[in-house]
Amino acid sequence: MVDAGKWWTLPVAPALLLGFAVLAVAGKTALDDRGAGRSVTPVGVLRPLLAVPRALVAQPRRLPASDRLLWRLGVVTVPVAAVLSTLVIPFGNHVVADLSVGVVWFNAMEVLTWAGLWLAGWGPNAAFSLVGGYRFLAQGLAYELPLMFALISAATGAQSLRVTDIAGAQHGLWYAVWMPFAFAVHLTGVLAFSFLGPFAYPAGRDIADGVLGETSGVDRLLLRAGRWLWLAAGAAMAVPLFLGGGAGPGLPAWAWSLVKTVLVLGLLVWVLRRLPALRADRYVELAWVVLLPAAIVQVLVPALVDLGP
């Protein structure tokens, strides 16, 4: 059913991811423009892309006693991990590498951003940056375990860690329908690992943009692009995990994947503006006292269903 590893999927997957990320940025800008009373124009909403020429002409900055090597490493890790995570995400009937442990692969790539962002905060040797790096770890400790159990719920339902198997196992009844909590936790996790909107705590305005604060030029572009690439990757992953992948009536599989991804992305972008920043000192308790036990109960549902017949 799924063709794995055609050569052309290798360049197409990152390009698609980038396309979705740009779409999300444009959507966010359109909502912001409306909120600020500006006119929303198709060209205007693409203005965040001007960050690209700006990054290319910017003069490099050198900070005293900064750890240039680790800083660069961290900044590069975030977008690269986002791109690598898409290797296992099927789009329509195609996937770059249909790993037998796809879900774990996605999870591991997402955890790489922990290291990346901490390094991005540590590197510049500036107080607010470092606080931002630490904040992401605190946030990570809060969102990660519920997210893992959400991923496990889908894997348990399909009795496979292969993402295409999970998409194929949903036979018309999406996991989002009978595992709504896992779906919600997954979407929360997506916002959290892309540190956007309510989870922008590590890059908060109260600490002068935190991990982003001291970066300039290409570094800044990579880190900011990394956030949106992760948002797009997380939305794309939600489709095979919880929304039946490319399955659907009438349209070809790729079209269904496209429609579903755009809808999930739209939902996430809409939520970005609806909540204040969830500070980790408050969110950790909610995550561990409420979300985690509930996520474990949610895993029990597919486990018992699997045992049944």
């Binding site: 750890d67 680790l70 037998s100 591991a108 290291a115 540590w122 408050r282 308790e285 909610l286």
Partner: protein, 189 residues
């Protein structure tokens, strides 16, 4: 074992060893922690290439989380974490070198002298499935023991590391609500 795998094993192996040596030669604590991370990620890669993708990727996942948290503790507890002023924090280097050198020599000698048996049994179609079946069937006791070890660790580590207990939080009668904490939590207990 194909050519690609052999090359991968060589590259990952050399990187792992380099990372391991760098751990004890670098000055900056952050760099030390991340060279150890690099080393263990390569170990995860080796395990993956050897046909255990699940364990390999899980090792990568766990080690990233572990090392990042380790870096936080290291920087909190060590003076001079950025390695700006080089200083030595070693003792009895020569003794350690002799002992570890002797252990390495003995191990390598053993590796090349022992008459290893041939391969028994065929590679399973899905090694993840093999692991799961064995952990949930004949190795169930191991799994249960590991589970209890983890639980004991969680409780023990928390007890050791915290100063405040529930009487500090909830008062002598355990009836103070909300609890008295330096910073309030999110569900307002």
């Amino acid at each position: 074992m194909g050519v690609t795998n052999t090359v991968l094993l060589w590259v990952l192996g050399v990187l792992a060893l380099t990372g391991g040596v760098l751990v004890f030669t670098l000055n900056s604590m952050a760099r030390v922690a991340f060279s150890l991370l690099g080393c263990l990620v390569c170990v995860g890669g080796v395990v993956t290439v050897l046909g255990l993708p699940y364990l390999g990727v899980v090792i990568v996942l766990m080690m990233v989380m572990e090392m990042v948290i380790m870096a936080v503790f290291m920087i909190a507890y060590m003076m001079n974490p950025a390695g700006l002023m080089p200083m030595s924090m070693v003792h009895n280097t020569r003794g350690a070198l002799v002992i570890s050198g002797a252990v390495l020599a003995a191990l390598v000698a053993g590796i090349f002298l022992v008459p290893w048996p041939g391969r028994t049994g065929a590679r399973p179609k899905d090694s993840t499935f093999q692991l799961g079946m064995s952990l949930m069937a004949d190795q169930m006791l191991t799994m249960v023991t590991l589970g209890f070890v983890l639980l004991a660790t969680m409780v023990g580590a928390t007890v050791l590391a915290t100063r405040r207990g529930r009487y500090d939080r909830f008062g002598d009668e355990l009836d103070r609500r909300p609890a008295e904490d330096p910073a309030g939590g999110g569900v307002g207990r």
